[in-house]
């Protein structure tokens, strides 16, 4: 069990690195917003894995809050982009 949890953490960290490359590279701002949203979902999954690792069920609440903030951030960025604020990709 322990080994599988470590492997899960390793794969999730690898995917975070890969997403971070896109976050740095991303040619336009919407690309970066998509990368940030996926990064937030990786964080939610990682919180779930950490709840299993530490055997603490309270971390599920943290996952709920992280998912909520990620959704609000995505909607906020989308509104900002659509209204056409000053931006510098």
């Amino acid at each position: 069990m322990q080994f599988v949890i470590y492997l899960t953490f390793a794969i999730l960290s690898l995917s975070m690195i890969v997403i971070f490359v896109r976050l740095i590279m991303g040619p336009t701002l919407p690309d970066r917003v998509v990368a940030l949203e996926l990064l937030a979902s990786v964080i939610v999954a990682m919180i779930g894995a950490y709840a299993i690792y530490t055997d603490t069920s309270s971390f599920i609440d943290v996952a709920i809050v992280a998912a909520l903030t990620a959704f609000l951030a995505a909607i906020g960025f989308a509104r900002f982009l659509e209204r056409g604020g000053p931006r510098d990709d």
């Binding site: 899960t8 995917s15 896109r22 917003v33 998509v34 990786v42 299993i52 069920s57 709920i64 909607i75």
Partner: protein
Amino acid sequence: MIDWIIKFLMLTSSIFILLAAVGILRLPDLLTRMHASTKAGALGITLMMLAASFHFFETVVMAKSLAVIIFILITAPVAAHAIGRAGYFVGVPVWTKTVKDELINCYDPKSHRLMSGLETEEELEIYRQNLDFKPRIRVKRREPGD
């Protein structure tokens, strides 16, 4: 037994998320990247929360993880739609091999309203003249009786 289910769910979840990450790195433009990230990411979170609910196996934790799953399944398409729409208005370049763009000239650039191009009677008549040209919408209105 249930240990093996948890292991399988955790590994599948992380592999799906890695797949989403590779897709977001490798695919060519914004819309295909969103196609990769939204679905695979949501499935990854769903499987991880299922693993958590199997691990704790209490009613409260199961309800909470079910709440997370339903929340993700509701909000991921909404957020993807909002970002895709915003990207279309910003004018993000699409892939050079893109075949068609059905929304071109359909959005009013000022008010951001979607027009079908068939608002007036003349446009509708032109559309009826060459029906096989653009099979885009249903021409006959459905009557309330039938």
